[in-house]
């Protein structure tokens, strides 16, 4: 593992689509076992960054090191060490819960026995034993998201990337989902999660806030609230999101001070 126990290390990461810059010189690190919130409005560039970190797309320039490997150079080594839950739902609707577990366990090279054990373990944990043979499409969204999270964890990766895992899910199920996140963080898994629900930002140990491709602030929720002199993450977010809209007041140096690590 890396020195400083940084399981994710991103330096000057840039991603351009044509002339459009979706990720503009991102710099941040995530420590082992941390729950890291990657926040930003729609279109800020979160998914773009998460795809680069999980080896799905290549950076235009800059370096991203995940679980000790440069993702651009050794995407396959990285892939063995990560779990990924895409922004779209990533289980098969026309297969049963059990079949989904078996399939994903299979492509990660787990033995039949360990797939069976894991399936039972997660079903019990989610209290979904009765759903075992149900097709995914018969199951409500929130439950499916919890299953998807379990499946993304089935091979016990060092890092899981969750891209808006709770989008469209009711508040109660969202809480349960976060309990799952805490559970796996307790076991040492690093959780990298994007969201645009600001109440969820409070659950993270550290967050970064992105706007228009740039990271505008980074630090623990408490520190960020203090820095901005507000009481909720929502207000922090509103201030940052508004910054580019009224540039004359407060001007450019404010943008820079956001970028300082406040950790």
């Amino acid at each position: 593992m890396n020195k400083n126990d940084h399981i994710i290390e991103v330096r000057d990461l840039v991603k351009r689509f044509g002339s459009f810059t979706a990720n503009d010189h991102l710099n941040f690190t995530v420590s082992k076992g941390e729950i890291f919130g990657f926040l930003g409005a729609n279109g800020a560039g979160k998914t773009t960054a998460i795809k680069i970190l999980s080896g799905l797309s290549k950076p235009t320039s800059g370096v991203a090191i995940v679980a000790g490997f440069d993702v651009a150079k050794y995407p396959n080594k990285v892939k063995k060490n990560i779990g990924y839950m895409s922004q779209h739902f990533s289980l098969y609707d026309d297969m049963t819960v059990k079949e989904n577990f078996r399939f994903y366990g299979g492509i990660f090279g787990l033995s039949r026995k360990s797939i069976r054990e894991k399936t039972e373990y997660y079903l019990e944990k989610l209290k979904m034993q009765n759903f075992r043979n149900m097709l995914l499409k018969q199951i409500p969204l929130g439950w499916k998201q919890k299953l998807a999270f379990s499946v993304a964890n089935i091979h016990e990766p060092a890092v899981v990337f969750l891209d808006e895992p709770t989008g469209g899910v009711d508040p109660i199920t969202r809480r349960q989902f976060w309990e799952l996140i805490y559970d796996s963080a307790d076991k040492g898994t690093t959780v990298f999660v994007t969201t645009h629900y600001m109440d969820e930002a409070e659950y993270c140990e550290r967050v970064s806030i992105m706007s228009e491709g740039r990271i505008e602030a980074i630090g623990s929720p408490g520190k960020l609230k203090e820095e901005f002199g507000v009481n909720t993450m929502d207000e922090v977010f509103v201030q940052i999101a508004r910054t580019p809209l009224d540039p004359p007041i407060g001007g450019t140096d404010r943008g820079n001070s956001f970028k300082k690590q406040v950790n």
Binding site: K51, S54, G55, L56, S57, K58, N76, K79, K80, I82, Y84, M85, S86, Q87, H88, F89, S90, L91, Y92, D93, D94, M95, E99, R102, F103, Y104, G106, I107, F108, G109, L135
Partner: protein, 366 residues
């Protein structure tokens, strides 16, 4: 890998659309075959020209007439009458016994019968031919058993008149094979791959340790299997229900079909890399593949009769070349030396499509 293929079968068997394509296909086959076909043979009108008029020929005539398939309307006296008889249009078959039939059979152990058939309805002609030959063979078997194992052979020499190449019906079989292989291979793969893209599961697969090539192979293998099963069903139907001969090498035929399947799969993959939704993939397969396959391949409309511009376009259609190949194997019974050019063209197209889709695939990852 196995897990992957199994999962793909779950998708296929749980999706009403793919089931419609799969199970609808036999219906399409039967409909298309049935188009120009009457396969009931009842009291087909025949004439007999018996140059020998001995015990054996009378017995044989009796067997043929009493079989219910045939209705004897004329006993001809000379070869000159045959043509006029056919021209009247009612007679479908003339059975000619050579002179000295029984004597030859006894002395030399062999004698011959000639069957003349009106092949303007090729399927009927084929069935009459098969039935008559069957009756004659049964007769000679029985005779052999009764006469204690003196080897006897009655040679049957059949001649198709008016349509010696047996056009129309047999033209359908190669066309149907082509359309169905295209349908299953190209259309179903392109839909199933875009489906994974649409659902977001493709990303989940791509972040797994599986290599893209493994994903692709896992996805297409079931369709290769299904295409192959379909092919076998069509060939069996063609052979046993519609009595279509397969004159050339079966192995060669299957190998060429496999090449075409791979070509169609490559096309399907290519379509899936350029379309974003299942609908788009389906439309693209429909308009870019199915219609040209049906309209421009010479399957229904002869290419020679098309406007010149369409003739040129048809050269770009893989099915056109494939149909030439299977016609050659099935109907003419010739070997690879007659169609290596067409084979090469398809192989080249296959490589081209694979290259294109690999390139597109890479661009998508950038």
């Amino acid at each position: 890998m196995w897990a992957f293929i199994k999962k793909e079968f779950f998708h296929i068997f749980r999706d009403y659309r793919s089931m419609v394509i799969l199970f609808g296909m036999p219906i399409v086959q039967v409909l298309l075959f049935g188009f120009a076909i009457t396969n009931e043979i009842n009291d087909a009108q025949i004439a007999i020209l018996d140059h020998s008029k001995d015990v054996v020929t009378r017995e044989l005539t009796q067997k043929i007439v009493s079989s219910n398939y045939f209705l004897l309307v004329e006993n001809l006296e000379s070869n000159n009458q045959i043509e006029a008889e056919f021209k009247k249009g009612d007679i479908k078959q003339v059975v000619i016994f050579e002179s000295g039939f029984a004597r030859k059979l006894e002395k030399e152990g062999k004698a011959s019968i000639q069957l003349l058939l009106d092949a303007s309805e090729p399927n009927t002609a084929n069935m009459l031919n098969a039935y008559t030959t069957g009756i004659i063979n049964t007769y000679s078997m029985q005779k052999m058993i009764n006469s204690n194992a003196v080897p006897l052979s009655i040679q049957v020499d059949s001649k198709m008149l008016f349509n010696p190449e047996l056009k129309s019906v047999y033209m359908f079989v190669p066309g149907v094979i082509t359309v169905l292989l295209m349908l299953v291979s190209a259309m179903m793969t392109s839909i199933s791959i875009t489906r994974e893209k649409e659902l977001g599961t493709m990303e989940a697969l791509l972040v797994s340790p599986l290599k893209p090539i493994q994903i692709i192979i896992g996805k297409v293998t079931p369709y290769v299997l299904l295409s192959f099963i379909n092919l076998v069903v069509i060939l069996l139907l063609a052979k046993f229900v519609f009595l279509m001969p397969i004159r050339g090498s079966l192995v060669l035929l299957l190998a060429e079909c496999l090449l075409f399947i791979v070509m169609a799969l490559a096309l399907g993959i290519l379509i899936s890399t350029i379309s974003k939704t299942q609908q788009q993939a389906m439309m693209m397969s429909m308009f870019a593949l199915m219609l040209p396959t049906i309209l421009l391949s010479g399957f229904i409309f002869p290419i020679e009769n098309m406007p010149l511009i369409l003739q040129y376009i048809s050269h770009l259609m893989p099915p056109k070349w494939f149909i030439i190949i299977i016609k050659n194997i099935m109907l003419k019974g010739v070997g690879i030396s007659y169609f290596w050019k067409e084979t090469l063209i398809i192989a080249f197209m296959t490589v081209f499509f694979i290259g294109m889709s690999v390139k597109k695939f890479k661009i998508r990852l950038e």
